[in-house]
């Protein structure tokens, strides 16, 4: 049946059809929808793990037990999961294992744009790169076959434009899966030095076999056209090449580790000029150069950001390799266009995070931040976050600042969401207690993983498959880590929140404030909207500084959009003239 599917939906479909029975992940753009879709199929098990390392380890266990297994994460998630991955490459699998790494060139929703193809080479495992949804679906099945044939985990690497683009997929029927049984085998799975040395040697033997496989695999194929220019490409770049350079010969690599050296040499020998066109790093290019072949790549094609057909076309025209297009229609002059104000994403009207950041800014504290919706508080007008590095980094960073300069200890708070705290904040807090730090950690507990679209986590009381689950008791957890000063505040109560932040930062010992209120998008409670009593408004713009998209200035008077307002009650608390009052009709 032909269906229009996103790359992520296609991967889920491919996993179901290929007999995957266990899947684990931590949400992260652009990978999240893989597990969300997979979890809806019958006869499978899927879970959100608290972080990518745990997801990987769950997957390793499932594979050892004999199940076909899929683990998915965004590119930076693989950093978290790298420790088990690199040794799992030694042990190999029992049931087929595929790791989906969803990379984000252009950083649409990420803190960096690392090219995870390097991980496959680093771990010495096979790497497949689909170019559309059909290949995404097909390659899951192939990855599992390769995994079982060669006793290795396999990486399937997508990018945002594969993961989030929809194209037609010919789907099939699910295979009747038989789970291979578990067989104890310490020499294979117990990686103490004596056994690991054996597996290290086996890894090289396996790689030799994979090199042969790569030469003959239908994943790697040549499309002969004009032989004056030959282009080696992979993944989404293949689509851009086909569009920008429709007449050139193409070596399309679906399997990019190990590379098919013989096939590449054969292709190179048959074309006058050889190019590698790939997004981000010169991963293929450097290896082709190491083969001693004359090839051009990154001197022409940028290694930052996303590619598209226009960039490739433009660079080939510049280099005189493609005739310039003669435009008969004159491009309109846009120089006199009105100035376009930006439309940055913002915290939603009624977002409980807003209260915390308003207070942190008012108190002029140093704020080490973390990954989530709340990172948006670093932008105007709140501008209340100093740094953001990676999941969980806020707590260690706050502790380190305090150790570097004790005067900073009482002036610095770490801010971290509930899902992020459970992902990798717990050990940072444990460290702060153990090493006698004096920082304050604010856990923004909105009871969900909001940024990626409201996924469950160990604190929400529900599982990915919709079952009730034990919910972690955050207060008890942080107390168990040794934090003596623990308090819970409602972040929409500014007086209480300010008092808590002042007292805890001055305490001189580790403290935790749990700012608890569910994400406003989850609670559809209709509070009355805020009304402006225009005669009282003096136009001081105190409410505007909250950065709420429901509030604007109409002339010299504040205006509240009743359709957007959720009646959270924050703006009346900052209005010194009491011009803002509850009681309007909400549109929510």
């Amino acid at each position: 049946m032909k269906e229009l599917l996103s790359g992520n939906e296609a991967i889920a479909r491919g996993a179901f059809e290929s007999g995957v029975t266990v899947a684990a992940a931590y949400p992260g753009t652009p990978s999240t929808e893989i597990l969300e879709n997979f979890a809806r199929y019958p006869g499978i098990y899927a879970e959100w793990a608290p972080n990518e390392k745990v997801a990987m380890e769950v997957g390793i266990g499932a594979s050892m037990a004999g199940a076909r297994t899929l683990v998915a994460m965004k590119h930076v998630g693989v950093n978290v999961a790298a420790d088990p991955l690199l040794t799992f490459a030694y042990t190999g699998v029992n049931g087929g294992f595929v790791l989906v790494s969803a990379d984000d060139p252009g950083m649409h929703s990420s803190q960096n744009e690392q090219d995870n193809r390097h991980y496959a080479r680093f771990a010495k495992i096979p790497l497949l790169e689909p170019c559309d949804s059909q290949e995404a679906r097909d390659m899951v099945g192939l990855a599992l076959e390769i995994s079982e044939q060669f006793d290795t985990p396999v990486m399937l690497r997508t990018t945002t434009r594969v993961a989030h683009s929809q194209s037609f997929v010919e789907t099939g029927e699910p295979r009747k899966g038989t789970v291979r049984g578990y067989v104890k085998n310490a020499k294979k799975y117990l990686m103490v030095p004596a056994f690991a040395r054996l597996r290290r040697a086996a890894l090289e033997v396996r790689l030799a076999g994979l090199r042969e496989y790569s030469e003959k695999s239908p994943l790697n194929f040549i499309e002969w056209r004009d032989k004056s220019v030959g282009v080696i490409t992979s993944g989404i770049s293949y689509q851009y090449v086909r569009e920008a350079l429709p007449d050139v010969s193409v070596l399309k690599l679906g399997m990019t580790n190990p590379l098919p050296e013989g096939l590449i040499r054969q292709f190179a020998a048959s074309v006058s000029r050889l190019f590698v066109i790939e997004e981000l790093e010169p991963f293929i290019e450097e290896q082709v150069k190491a083969m001693g072949l004359a090839v051009s790549g990154k001197e022409l094609i940028p290694n930052t950001g996303e590619l598209d057909a226009g960039i490739i076309s433009g660079k080939f025209i510049e280099a005189g390799l493609k005739p310039a297009v003669q435009n008969t229609v004159v491009k309109p002059d846009l120089q006199d266009a009105p100035v376009v104000p930006g439309r940055p994403p913002v915290l939603c009207p009624g977002c409980p995070h807003r209260g915390i950041f308003y207070i942190l800014k008012r108190l002029k504290l140093n704020v080490t931040g973390d990954i989530g919706c709340y990172t948006l508080s670093g932008l105007p007008p709140l501008e209340a976050m100093d740094c953001c590095i990676c999941m969980g980094a806020s707590i260690g960073a706050a502790h380190g600042m305090g150790k570097a300069d004790p005067a900073l200890a009482g002036r610095t708070v770490a801010v971290i969401g509930d899902s992020t705290f459970l992902h990798s904040g717990i050990t940072g807090l444990l460290n702060m207690v153990y090493n006698k730090g004096a920082g304050t950690v604010i856990i923004l507990d909105n009871s969900t993983t909001a940024m990626t679209g409201h996924q469950q986590h160990p604190g929400t009381g529900l599982s990915l498959m919709g079952e009730t689950a034990p919910a972690v008791d955050l207060e008890a957890l942080v107390r168990a880590l040794g934090v003596k000063r623990v308090r819970v505040v409602d972040p929409l109560d500014l007086t209480e929140t300010q008092k808590a932040v002042q007292e805890e930062t001055e305490a001189g010992e580790p403290s935790v404030i749990i700012a608890r209120r569910p994400c406003v998008l989850l609670t559809k409670v209709a509070e009355p909207a805020i009304m402006v009593q225009s005669e009282k408004c003096i136009g001081c713009k105190a409410c505007i500084r909250l950065g709420c998209p429901a509030i604007s200035m109409k002339g010299k008077t504040a205006r509240v959009d009743p359709l957007a307002c959720t009646g959270c009650g924050l703006c009346p608390q900052v209005c010194v003239e009491a011009a803002l009052v509850k009681g309007g009709k909400t549109g929510a």
Binding site: S109, S165, I236, S313, V339, V346, K541, S552
Partner: protein, 192 residues
């Protein structure tokens, strides 16, 4: 159709661009075209710009429209239409909703919402259709159907028969909202 038709749908989170692109995708599929749809989400719920790229033709390779290669720019909001105007191909068509949704820099007074957007766009783009889709949708029974009004205006510019559009609408819109949306689509399709 040798070259794909490139459609760029731009708006603000909550305006229904996703539903409009789903109806378009189904209609294109029914009409027998190859199709690619690319959307960047994640920020949609947070008041940011929302951009969906749709390409249809005999065979479509790239899911991304080449820079400056948009044939039809469907702007659900005026400012977003202006923002993406440079992506329009010379001779391309812009269909623009007259609705204004001020972004946060405007709300805070850090920037101004430009006053003469439509005049400027008309002065540089001969094929400009501007429409008050919000009011028309309201007359049809629900202002939220503004997205389908706009889809209707675009539909008559695409090589897909009206009957196919109406069928796709029926399959993608919940039954209780179908009558309103049918009226909204017709109002857009027959808009002068």
């Amino acid at each position: 159709m040798l070259k794909p038709v490139n459609i760029l749908m731009v708006g603000v989170g909550g305006q229904g661009t996703i539903l409009a692109s789903r109806i378009l995708a189904l209609a294109a599929q029914e009409a027998g075209y190859d199709l690619k749809v690319s959307e960047i989400h994640g920020m949609a719920q947070r008041g940011g710009s929302v951009v969906t790229q749709v390409r249809l033709g005999e065979k479509v390779y790239s899911p991304l429209i080449p820079t400056g290669g948009v044939d039809v720019l469907l702007a659900f909001e005026k400012l977003e239409g202006l923002r993406l105007l440079p992506s329009l191909k010379p001779g391309g068509t812009i269909i623009i909703n007259e609705q204004e949704i001020p972004p946060v820099p405007v709300l805070t007074g850090a920037a101004e919402y430009p006053q003469n957007i439509l005049e400027f766009i008309r002065s540089v783009t001969p094929n400009t259709v501007s429409i008050d889709a919000y009011s028309i949708a309201k007359e049809c029974g629900n202002p939220k159907a503004a997205n389908v009004v706009l889809l209707g205006v675009m539909a008559r510019n695409l090589p897909i028969e009206r009957g196919i559009w109406e069928k796709a609408l029926g399959q993608r819109v919940p039954a209780k909202l179908l009558e309103v949306n049918k009226a909204a689509f017709a109002a857009g399709y027959d808009y002068k």
